[in-house]
């Protein structure tokens, strides 16, 4: 029934989209998280408003509430959003539960080719089941978790000398996770310009996805795998492997010895605050914030530089980023598809990047000038070459919340050991997949 409805809907949309110019002007609402790139999108969308005659409204929800609110909205069949830039992990649920309109026919009719977009982003943001040519979103915003640091502090002779003396190494961008920790510990509690500063701010948030995103940034470089054999959901021995235990213990040590006090429940906003207020030498955060950080009058410009999440046993970065989807409950799907058609245009994508959005379009990324277009552009390409994402299963929320609990219990609330935390996580996840009928 549902599939039939969806098929008709997309068939109708194609018919309408081709005759878009005669369509009536609509008031479209686009939902996304409230952050720097969203403001850039508002700016970018003015061009669409001018061309199409449609009016764009925006509903931006702060990250800590974003998943909660939007998934609730989708599950209640709400009509608030016509377009949704939903997190990558929602794609499974969005597709299987019929929240998102399937875009294949539309792409074919408008000759939008997915091969024009970076493979990693298409795989992560658009396809369900993973890797099959079934598209439910257009890659809108590439993203990964990266790092930034106080370049001015790293360049000071007194600090460099002190670092050399205490570690025997030269102070610079870390080449491994362990070097990263060493640098952070070096800065922890140090007096700089009469102020006590701390090592780094990392993600420890409990409510949504924060601590999981932080910990996976350590897990992936240690070679973490979700399954022994992909697609078999055999997690015992993979999720709780000795490497995973080591990585988790590493993250806890990082939290305990190299982060500012009071950062027990911190995510993107807190990480930015800590850095901008001059409390920390380094911080982890999504690439999406880097243009804003670079523009900051105090801690930006020459005082900041960026690096990719350092490797340990291998390279690995936690994937962020989103695709843009048309919500199946919307009454204005034609106009919404028009927006996607416009957004997929290479010129618009180029402008998107220049305004601070991370385009996933190959025309932008493969441009010879891209690497030098921003101080973090090269790092971005490098990060996107080795990204891994969390489960994208329809049951992703259950999987994520289980991980949030086990990780926060261990790292912040100091309950049990890393091995126990991961063993319990395997149990929780096994239960979820059993309920799903996948085990």
């Amino acid at each position: 029934m549902k599939t039939f409805k969806l098929a008709t809907v997309s068939a109708l949309s194609i018919a309408a989209a081709t005759t878009a110019s005669t369509a009536q002007a609509e008031d479209l609402t686009l939902c996304w998280a409230a952050w720097d790139p969203a403001n850039a999108l508002v700016e970018l969308s003015k061009e669409f408003e001018g061309q199409s005659g449609h009016k764009m409204s925006f509903e931006f929800i702060p990250w800590p509430n974003f998943a909660d609110r939007m998934l609730n909205e989708l599950n209640s069949g709400g009509k608030l959003c016509d377009l949704l830039i939903g997190d990558s992990q929602w794609i499974g649920g969005g597709a299987e539960n019929g929240h998102y309109v399937k875009l294949n026919d539309f792409f074919d009719a408008e000759s939008i080719s997915m091969s024009d977009f970076a493979d990693a982003t298409v795989y992560a943001y658009s396809t369900w089941p993973k890797g099959t040519p079934n598209y439910y979103a257009l890659p809108a915003m590439g993203d990964a978790n990266g790092w930034f640091y106080r370049k001015d502090w790293f360049a000071r002779d007194d600090i460099k000398a002190a670092f050399k003396e205490s570690t025997g190494r030269d102070l610079g961008e870390p080449k491994s996770q362990k070097e990263l920790l060493e640098i952070a510990q070096f800065f922890q509690g140090r007096e700089i310009d009469g102020k006590t500063v701390y090592g780094a701010s990392i993600f420890t948030e409990r409510g949504s996805e924060g601590i999981t995103m932080g910990i996976t940034s350590a897990l992936y470089p240690w070679g973490f795998k979700y399954e022994n054999t992909p697609g078999k959901y055999d997690m015992d021995g993979a999720v709780n492997s000795p490497e995973a235990v080591e990585a988790l213990e590493f993250y806890k040590e990082f939290y305990e010895t190299a982060t500012p006090p009071g950062y027990t429940n911190s995510y993107m906003g807190e990480s930015l605050d800590a850095f901008k207020s001059g409390q920390v030498a380094m911080a982890m955060n999504w690439f999406a914030f880097f243009p804003g950080l670079y523009a900051d009058p105090n801690t930006g410009g020459d005082n900041i530089d960026f690096f990719v999440n350092p490797p340990q046993n291998q390279a690995g970065s936690t994937l962020g980023g989103q695709g843009i989807s048309v919500v199946a409950y919307s009454d204005k799907q034609d106009a919404a598809l028009e927006y996607i058609k416009w957004f997929a245009n290479p010129d618009v994508q180029a402008k998107w990047w220049s305004l601070g959005g991370y385009s996933a379009h190959n025309a932008v990324l493969n441009d010879p000038g891209f690497k030098d277009s921003a101080p973090f552009a090269g790092d971005f390409l490098e990060a996107m070459g080795a990204v891994q994402d969390f489960w994208q299963e329809p049951a992703y929320a259950e999987l994520l919340l289980a991980m949030q609990k086990r990780m926060h219990d261990y790292v912040v609330a100091d309950q049990g050991t890393a091995q126990e935390a991961l063993d319990k996580l395997v149990e929780d996840w096994t239960e979820v997949f059993e309920d799903e009928g996948k085990l």
């Binding site: 998934l71 989708l74 609990k405 926060h408």
Partner: protein, 314 residues
């Protein structure tokens, strides 16, 4: 039912016949007046309750299109056998016990002092009452700010009086302090409630009882324990009942303050239930959880009300 609506209404209104000619009968009016309310209560309260009971025996998930499967008592077994949920219950019990303890202690003391009828006591009572009228979510959100280790007023005030470094302790982030941080805010907010009820109790004691005691040369202390406390006790117990029910349901204040963290230290049952029902979308499981909570609070409250009535009868 021999005692029908009609005959009773007739008994209450002697002029029934005259009126029936001119307008609707009392019976009709009674039903017209009550019907919308009953309908609304059925729709918003009763029907959902029955639906929840039904769902609690299924594996339904509100975010999926799967077929509904009957799983019998499996959800109940799972919940009652889950050691993590017992930890949530423990956190709730800790929160309940200590908030009621402090609120009764401070609330009664305040009521006792206000009852001394000093000049301007009305004005100060109104001021004290303000916190409990505010939105718990907004209050919780703002107390989070007050509790910030580096910039929050709370840590700074404590530091001022104890000489400790303000950033040396984290009210919301530390495992030992977080359960107390929510107790403090709830006590701040709801002590006035207990105070008001106690005040009503104190004011209900007729002066002549004290005068008689005075004639009998009973000491003030003795009067306090033999007159004041027993007379106020039913009121106090009522306050405890109301606070108990409210805090058993506690969600908004704590979710804004700690979100259940650190780890799951302050994850009260309502917060846990919200995660199961509206984040994990395990609707059937969460329904069973809801029923367990409802039966618990309803059962405890019924036993308590029995005890309360015994005290009142004395």
């Amino acid at each position: 039912m021999t005692d029908s609506l009609d005959t009773r209404a007739a008994a209450a209104t002697p002029v029934r016949v005259a009126r029936e000619i001119r307008g609707l009968s009392d019976r009709a009016i009674a039903w017209i007046f009550v019907a919308p309310t009953i309908f609304l209560l059925l729709a918003i309260n009763i029907f959902p309750l029955i639906w929840t009971i039904r769902l609690s025996f299924t594996n339904f998930k509100a975010n999926r299109n799967r077929d509904l499967e009957w799983v019998g008592l499996r959800n109940y077994e799972r919940i009652l056998g889950d050691s993590d949920i017992w930890l949530n219950m423990q956190a709730t019990a800790h929160f309940l016990f200590w908030t009621i303890f402090f609120q009764v202690l401070i609330g009664f003391t305040l009521a006792y002092l206000i009852n001394k009828k000093f000049k301007g006591n009305d004005l100060w009572t109104t001021i004290i009452v303000l916190p409990m009228m505010l939105s718990p979510a907004v209050v919780g959100n703002f107390w989070k700010f007050l509790y910030q280790p580096q910039i929050g007023l709370f840590n700074y005030v404590i530091a001022f009086f104890t000489g400790k470094e303000p950033s040396s302790f984290e009210m919301l982030g530390s495992v030992n302090l977080a359960p107390w941080s929510i107790v403090i805010v709830d006590t701040w907010m709801w002590t006035p409630f207990v105070m008001l009820i106690c005040l009503a109790g104190l004011r209900s004691i007729p002066d002549y009882i004290y005068e008689a005691a005075e004639v009998d040369r009973a000491s003030k202390l003795r009067q306090f324990f033999t007159i004041t406390i027993p007379m106020v006790l039913p009121f106090l117990m009522l306050a405890v009942l109301f606070r108990g029910i409210e805090n058993f349901k506690m969600f908004d204040l704590v979710v804004q303050l700690t979100g259940g963290g650190p780890g799951s230290i302050t994850e009260l049952t309502s917060i846990n239930l919200k995660r199961e029902a509206f984040e994990k979308w395990r609707t059937g499981y969460a329904s069973a959880y809801a029923i367990i909570l409802f039966v618990t609070v309803f059962g405890l409250a019924s036993i308590y009300v029995k005890a309360l009535n015994k005290v009142k009868e004395r």
